[in-house]
């Protein structure tokens, strides 16, 4: 009896080669001769690159506080370069003694951004706006100074990661109202308004950001009345806003088009005015759909802020390049770029994961 059960169990069990690690490998790595070939090729590539890279980045690398001479002719990465220059990379040419201020400002800023992204804090509702206002005032005081015994620092000395974050955030947030107006204008029944919006959107979307930034840096001064001049940073922000508004408008338009006709007609039937209809019925639904693509747009905008170096602002990328302008650290540009790329990557990767989560979260209860 016992024998029979054992034998029974034996032949009901799946063959060893289809389960466990071997089964997984057979299924996922060696399912056909072509697949096996690809797997071997991939393993070869991994073996020929990863150990060397690991050796370079960790084992042979020079860490800690060392002068550039120590790194000379060494086979590994020279992280001493980052050790030496990370404050220049992160804060640009902000006065060295005062760099705790951009650091604190950045922490406040990031707390605001992360806080607004976390679901449990959404219960704060309208208070979030007030908290942002308070936070931004604090950031402004810290960055400019001039009060509370802090030395005044002109915005031409701002730089590094705080500048990149400010450009990205203000570019996105301030372009949003303009984007909504442009999208509504493009969907309007009034031909003149529609034409103006279409021309604006298509013109901006048809040209590269650099040309807009060039325009901001060389043409804005011409446009102002004689004697009035605006700051380079402000010009760049205005350029970024004008640029991202056109892209944002197309995203909002997508949301507006996704709202069923019945909603528009129902709002009209209730006797709502145009702004009541849009503000209370259509936009709350449309903007909800557009949040995930908006976050994707924000990622693009975040990466695009690196272009301001072309008009001479010391953003994160420019500050990185400044760091290896120092002739003795010149050979370690790879370490500098890798460090800078890692910072950008962390932000963008976090945002793209957040947008995916948001998409799933907002889709809840919508899939009927």
């Amino acid at each position: 009896m016992t024998d029979r059960t054992a034998a029974h169990e034996d032949w009901t069990r799946p063959p060893a080669a289809t389960t466990g690690v071997i089964g997984w490998m057979r299924k996922n790595l060696f399912s056909s001769w072509l697949n096996s070939l690809m797997t071997l090729l991939a393993i070869y590539v991994l073996i020929s690159t990863i150990p060397g890279l690991f050796q370079w980045a960790f084992i042979d690398a020079i860490w800690g506080d060392n002068p550039p001479e120590v790194c000379k002719n060494m086979p590994g990465a020279c992280w001493s370069f980052i050790n030496e220059k990370y404050r220049l990379i992160l804060f640009g040419v902000y006065p060295y003694e005062e760099q705790w201020r951009p650091l604190v400002a950045m922490i406040i800023f990031l707390t605001l951004i992360f806080g607004s992204c976390i679901k449990p804090l959404w219960v704060l509702g309208k208070w979030i706006m007030a908290i942002w206002a308070v936070g931004l005032v604090m950031v402004g005081i810290l960055m400019w100074g001039g009060v509370l015994g802090m030395e005044y620092v002109d915005q031409s000395q701002w730089g590094g990661l705080p500048l990149t974050l400010f450009l990205a955030t203000f570019g996105a947030v301030l372009s949003f109202p303009l984007a909504i107006l442009l999208a509504l204008g493009r969907r309007s029944d009034m031909p003149a308004i529609k034409t103006i919006c279409v021309v604006y959107i298509e013109l901006i979307r048809g040209v590269p950001l650099i040309s807009i930034l060039f325009m901001a840096s060389v043409m804005f001064p011409l446009f102002l009345p004689t004697g009035v001049s605006i700051d380079k940073l402000l010009r760049a922000v205005v350029g970024l806003i004008l640029f991202s508004a056109a892209y944002g408008a197309e995203i909002v338009r997508g949301g507006l088009q996704a709202i069923p006709r019945g909603q528009y007609e129902a709002a009209d039937a209730m006797g709502l005015t145009y702004w009541q209809k849009m503000g209370k019925v259509i936009l709350p639904q449309a903007l909800r759909i557009t949040i995930p693509p908006m976050v994707n747009g924000f990622i693009g905008g975040f990466k695009d802020t690196s272009l301001v170096l072309i008009i001479g602002l010391f953003d994160l990328l420019y500050a990185t390049r400044l760091a290896f302008q120092d002739i003795s650290w010149r050979p370690y540009y790879i370490e500098g770029y890798v460090f800078c790329a890692l910072i950008y990557f962390c932000f963008c990767f976090f945002m793209s994961r957040y947008s995916q989560w948001l998409e799933r979260y907002l889709a809840k209860g919508q899939n009927y």
């Binding site: 991939a42 590539v45 308004i193 590269p208 040309s211 060039f214």
Partner: protein, 398 residues
Amino acid sequence: MTAHHSKSDIQGPAPARAAFYNDPTVRAIFWQVVVVGSVVALVGYLVSNALENLERQNIASGFGFLDLPAGFAIGEGMLPYSPADTYFRALLIGALNTIKVAVAGIFFATIIGVIVGVARLSPNWLIARFATVYIETLRNVPLLLQLFFWYALIVEALPVAREAFGPLLGFHLSNRGMNVPLPDDMGFLGLLVGILVFIVAAIWLYRRNKAIHDATGETPNTLVPTLVMLVAFPFLGWAAGGFPTEFDTPELKGFSFNGGGVISAEFMALWLGLTLYTASFIAEIVRSGIQAVTKGQWEAAGALGLRRTQILRFVVLPQALRVIIPPTTSQYLNLTKNSSLAVAIGYPDIVSIAGTTLNQTGQAMEGIAIIMAVYLTLSLSISAFMNWYNKKIALVDR
């Protein structure tokens, strides 16, 4: 009482016409006049300021400067150029350089993007991981940083011209770029004509056979005649040119190469950066396009007895392409616009040359107008072509 009132309201005479200022048509006209008026006023104000400022700075306006000698050198171009040539010619060379890098970038980004996108869906776990890492890394790092990286890598890590890699078939790779041999005989034109004839003939053959297949269900052999033509036409062209074998190969003279053609380090860095970056976006588009085709389509095609390659070719890809083409078009447009980052690494594209022109003449408005005109023309051409293609493959509904 109240009831009586409302009754009389309903039954009473029709209410007077709404006041004219409540008439939607009148309101629409009013608001349009207001908006157009303020836009015109704003633009007028800005332009008058600009004219005043330009006059004060003694800067001419208009496009008269295009006929003046440019006076600056350009690193590379597809037309002969010297600093004595006009601004117009300099800008033309810049525009051609933009088109050159955009076309090369679009071509290779499409190929790499499709391969990586399909690889991400591969049943092979390792290959799929590779594709994912590629996509996530390149998408999340600014293109400008990548361009700087590639350019620095080419300039700093490759050997100087004297110790260049190669020659491999006459190719040399150094930190100045790649030196390539060029055909040095007009007889090669025959070969070129032969290749062109082959392409036209192959397209004709493919269409003819497809028509036969659609009409009769028979499948005429396409592969063998195509291969025969592939060998025959170029060979005939080569023979017609008198079997030329002369190549102008680059030779090391002192510290640089003489002869042959050169693919500059700037072009290589820009092309590499644009291609790899855009490919990561195209890969995601291809992946989502293929995933948009429902599983039922695969299963139905399998039930009809089609092989996996046939399923992909006849069932899945035609449907996936409809999802893939529109977002890919905007990636092509992005690539073309992103080629303007050339200015940061010193490749003489239209933005870089218009920027130099703008600095020399001070005519900012004209310079930026030229940049915008060139990109708008390119964008509209790409859109028009892709829309035509999209219409061709679009779903034909009943």
